[in-house]
Symmetry: C2
Subunit: 599 residues, 2 copies
């Protein structure tokens, strides 16, 4: 079996659950049908399994090195990225007008995620390049686009995002990188950027950094941030590579995971002029950066999900082939051992992984589809509805898999026992890689504040109403099936808990106290959304049982079991979290720094 993807499940999610075929009837995506998409996914799966997956462990153990101011990376990385480029897959993330394939975002996500599971560290270079290119396309001037985009779209030049600085991680208001206007309209960039993935290497002719910086004299805080395109090498008017743009690699960060991706501390303008070019308007940097934020955050959630998937599939395969022990009631030590997938607790650990990973994957596809709906909406109302849902769901997309698919990775190690704890098996690498996803693209806490402080209230609660409407529709559909009725009731009650919790919290006199347990709310609300995703899948699986192939019987049975598992084992956890949040508990909020250890 493949250990990076379950194509049967992808088909189930794309078509039976989320009705991708409806999207394929739109003008925008009309060039694709189920068959052509299958061919693209076949190609991607082969490339991911044959070229990316085999050296993922080797790369993890042989991370990029800093030698004489340059980065050395094992050659397999460039070879894999070249194969990706040769296959034309860089184009999967772009529209026709950029020279891309204009795939539905759902399909782009699914395709990309196979490479994430196969070799996360290598996939990062692709993801960052596509993100920078799309940002440039959305916000940049025609001149900048003409000069830089073709090489980026082709995968000849790579891109990065340069936001954080050593003294300012989550607090972008405090960045110090400076952009001084020059007479020719360009800017001199000076400052230090931290945590820059793909920030330097020798694999491409150029690297295009999208850099947040402040123009002197502008407003304080985030309102004074602008976005700049800053190339590693300057580009001549004829498009050829010019002289160095003086971005010094000050050092590499050595991470617990994602070890194959260079992660850099970069100094701009220290050893000579570093020239940057304004992207979008002055002081519009944050807004421009946020243009691509939903896409980027869903992609991070998707990465967290499919790293969880890698552990799930690997541990499932292992459990079905590793004999050890006997059934509890069998006291005969001379009887043959059973596969460990026969043991109740191993089943529980596999089912937990399945419920988390496939639940999250459903949400990722649903949300990617909302991006497609934004792009294909026939009416303003339809577009607004998709946008509201996206705004509300994005913090959950980013955060829920980061928490719970990491938990899945923990369990994958446990299924393998001592072997799982060694670097000879991939599951510990998945666990290390996935731990990053709580931290980047907005920390877990930042998303808690985002959903509870902004998203549930936005437009007079319109986003939450939009979600309620969708959930109610699913409950309506599920009510037709007697076996699903208890889930309908549980999900309805859970949504009422969301509402009543928010009402309780709104009575807080201190707005900071109201948000003190926002992270807990985020996790709990995520559980409600994933329960909804499982109910959607249960409806599809029930229909599949009635109408589908006999050979799919085990598949649909598994889906219905996972739904049952999530509602019985997981959803109750959310309810006790809502009670806590609603109580406006101030235990942590009131702590003084010296209370922790007494001084």
């Amino acid at each position: 079996m493949s250990t990076i993807v379950n194509r049967r499940d992808l088909d189930f999610l794309m078509y039976e659950t989320h009705k991708l075929e409806q999207l394929l009837e739109t003008d925008r995506y009309g060039d694709y049908d189920r068959e052509s998409i299958e061919a693209i996914l076949d190609l991607s799966q082969s490339l991911a399994e044959d070229i990316f997956q085999p050296f993922a462990g080797h790369l993890d153990q042989n991370e990029p090195k800093y030698v004489d101011g340059k980065v050395e990376i094992i050659p397999e990385v460039k070879e894999a990225l070249s194969a990706y480029k040769e296959a034309g897959l860089f184009a999967s993330g772009y529209d026709y007008d950029m020279g891309g394939m204009q795939l539905p975002w759902v399909v782009h996500q699914v395709l990309s995620s196979m490479f994430v599971t196969a070799n996360t560290s290598v996939s990062n270079y692709i993801f960052l390049t596509q993100g920078a290119t799309n940002m440039l396309n959305t916000c940049g001037s025609d001149e900048l686009k003409a000069k830089y985009m073709p090489n980026m779209v082709a995968g000849d030049w790579y891109g990065t995002m340069c936001l954080s600085e050593p003294q300012a991680g989550s607090s972008l208001a405090d960045i110090r990188t400076k952009a001084e206007p020059q007479e020719d309209g360009s800017y001199k960039i000076t400052g230090t950027k931290m945590w820059i993935s793909g920030g330097d290497h020798e694999m491409t002719d150029n690297i295009v950094h999208m850099v947040l910086a402040k123009i002197p004299g502008g407003p304080a805080g985030v309102k004074g941030i602008s976005l700049f395109l800053v190339p590693k090498h300057r580009v001549n008017d004829d498009g050829t590579i010019g002289e160095s743009n003086n971005i010094a690699l000050a050092g590499l960060n050595h991470k617990m995971g994602h070890k194959g991706t260079t992660n850099c501390l970069l100094n701009f303008g220290e050893s000579g002029d570093t020239i940057g070019y304004l992207v979008g308007g002055e002081n519009q940097g944050l807004a421009n950066m946020f243009h691509m934020m939903n896409e980027a955050r869903i992609a991070v959630g998707m990465a967290a999900t499919v790293i969880g998937l890698g552990g799930y599939l690997y541990s499932l395969d292992y459990a079905r082939n590793r004999p050890q022990g006997r059934h509890l009631t069998n006291k005969d030590p001379e009887s043959p051992m059973v596969m460990i997938s026969e043991h109740a607790d191993v089943k529980r650990m596999l089912m937990t992984q399945k419920a988390f990973v496939e639940g999250a994957q459903s949400l990722m596809l649903y949300s990617a589809r909302l991006l497609d709906q934004q792009a294909t909406a026939q009416t303003e109302e339809e577009k607004t509805h998709a946008t509201l849902l996206l705004e509300l769901l994005t913090p959950i997309c980013k955060s829920w898999p980061s928490e719970f698919c990491l938990e899945a990775n923990k369990l994958a190690i446990q299924v393998l026992g001592g072997y799982g704890y060694t670097r000879e098996y991939p599951v510990e690498r998945y666990y290390r890689d996935n731990r990053l996803n709580h931290i980047h693209e907005g920390t877990h806490a930042v998303h808690g504040l985002d959903i509870m402080g902004r998203k549930v209230r936005m437009a007079d609660g319109a986003a939450l109403k939009a979600l309620s409407k969708e959930i109610t529709a699913t409950i309506g559909e599920a009510s037709a099936y007697a076996d699903l009725s208890s889930y309908c009731q549980d999900l309805g009650e859970a949504m009422q808990s969301v509402q009543s919790t928010l009402e309780s919290v709104s009575t807080a006199k201190d707005p900071s106290l109201a948000l003190a347990n926002a992270t807990i709310f985020l996790d709990a609300m995520g559980h409600v959304v994933i329960a909804w995703m499982w109910l959607k899948q249960a409806v599809a699986a029930t229909k599949g049982q009635e109408e589908g192939k006999a050979s799919d019987a085990a598949f649909y049975r598994g889906k219905l079991s996972a739904c049952r598992f999530f509602f019985r084992y997981e959803l109750p956890k959310a309810l006790s979290k809502f009670d806590l949040v609603a109580s406006l508990d101030d235990t942590c909020f009131n702590l003084e720094a010296e209370d922790f250890i007494g001084h």
Copy 2:
């Protein structure tokens, strides 16, 4: 501040909470008083901080290597272990009659745990040697003891435990290592042992392996297992080192954590005779191994706890010194940044760590004290009571910190953000090191089966009654304080949930189904026990507020906040788990292997 130990908290736990002074009045421990114990802990702390802690990160990044059939380890490891030996600390784990210090086990645990936090990988060699020595002392013949023990007690020779084999991890019934009786009373050992920590190295003149093997013709399964002492080098009658005992190092395992401890695959009797000596009776191997099981399992729980402590203290220190962002209600970006310990979610993450780590530490000291009570009991009744409590609490001691102090380590990384994810800071190493503790000394699932299948039922439920009695006594004491009354009620109700859950489960017709969710019961029951530990601490803190020093005000306030946190944020999670276990849910139990992905 120290980042390996909070001595104020240790004093609180040892004396104010668990009344160590009562133990010091017994004959067995009468040579010690609070002052002399403080001096021993001072010495240990200095050694741990000055010699062990500084190279922990370096060791993690420079793990032992297999070169020409031998193990190469960075020299700092042997230097640190020599310093430990020179300080006489190997003797901390032994009684006077073995040439040891006969410290209360509580103190031995506390002392040892500082070295675990400082440098887990190095501390493993000490722990394993002390365990093997105590096992030999308990079960070995006078002749064997005379020949091997003095060098082991002195720390000149090290020890290991050789249980697992490649095909038999948790399933000891299936080990294949063979011990064939020789005419001289010794045995020829042949077979392969896996996961042997400290299994080979060149740091000592000899390594004494305690090996489980089967004597041909014996009973099948675990009833045919015997215990053997198998030295790396044979020992001449005059005590000098003789020829090689032909134990071949077949390879090193490369783990995610504990990277500084050699972990070996060993072949016995492959390249020449490997001679072993029976320890205890034939076919009594498992019983003999289990003699030291409570001690070993509590020590693993303690290790999980203090690895959690290391992350907690480091992230607390970081949070109190790292400026970033502003209070939510402060919209002025030009105002100074605050320390991140001011942010509500950072407080929550620090408090979660505190509640988990200090709650677990209280349980470890309580349980170590029960071992001391076994050794000092004046009556059979007193001894039986301590034994029953120990039997019931040991699976929780081993498992609860493995789960929840790992969670603490996850949060420590989060407090440091991107920095926490790099190997330049110790918190990611703690997270990697701690992940092992779910797996060794009985997996999480094994302890679930142990507590639910055996311990709660043993002696007609006498162990559970003993625990109820103790908890009721604490509730009685706490009831005197109005501020603690809600916790008394919550804890009483939680204990009733334990009882009613077990009653519900006992109605199951299939005994395997009754145990299908045993791991969930284990976690939930652990929460009840830790809540009890917090109530005990709250009583002590309340008394401290009334009688103690004014300078301890913040310390006691923090303890009471942590108690409140645990009861409000954590204990409710256990209750929904009990509901699930009581329902005898068979969702996972009934799964077939093909249900997971449909084939």
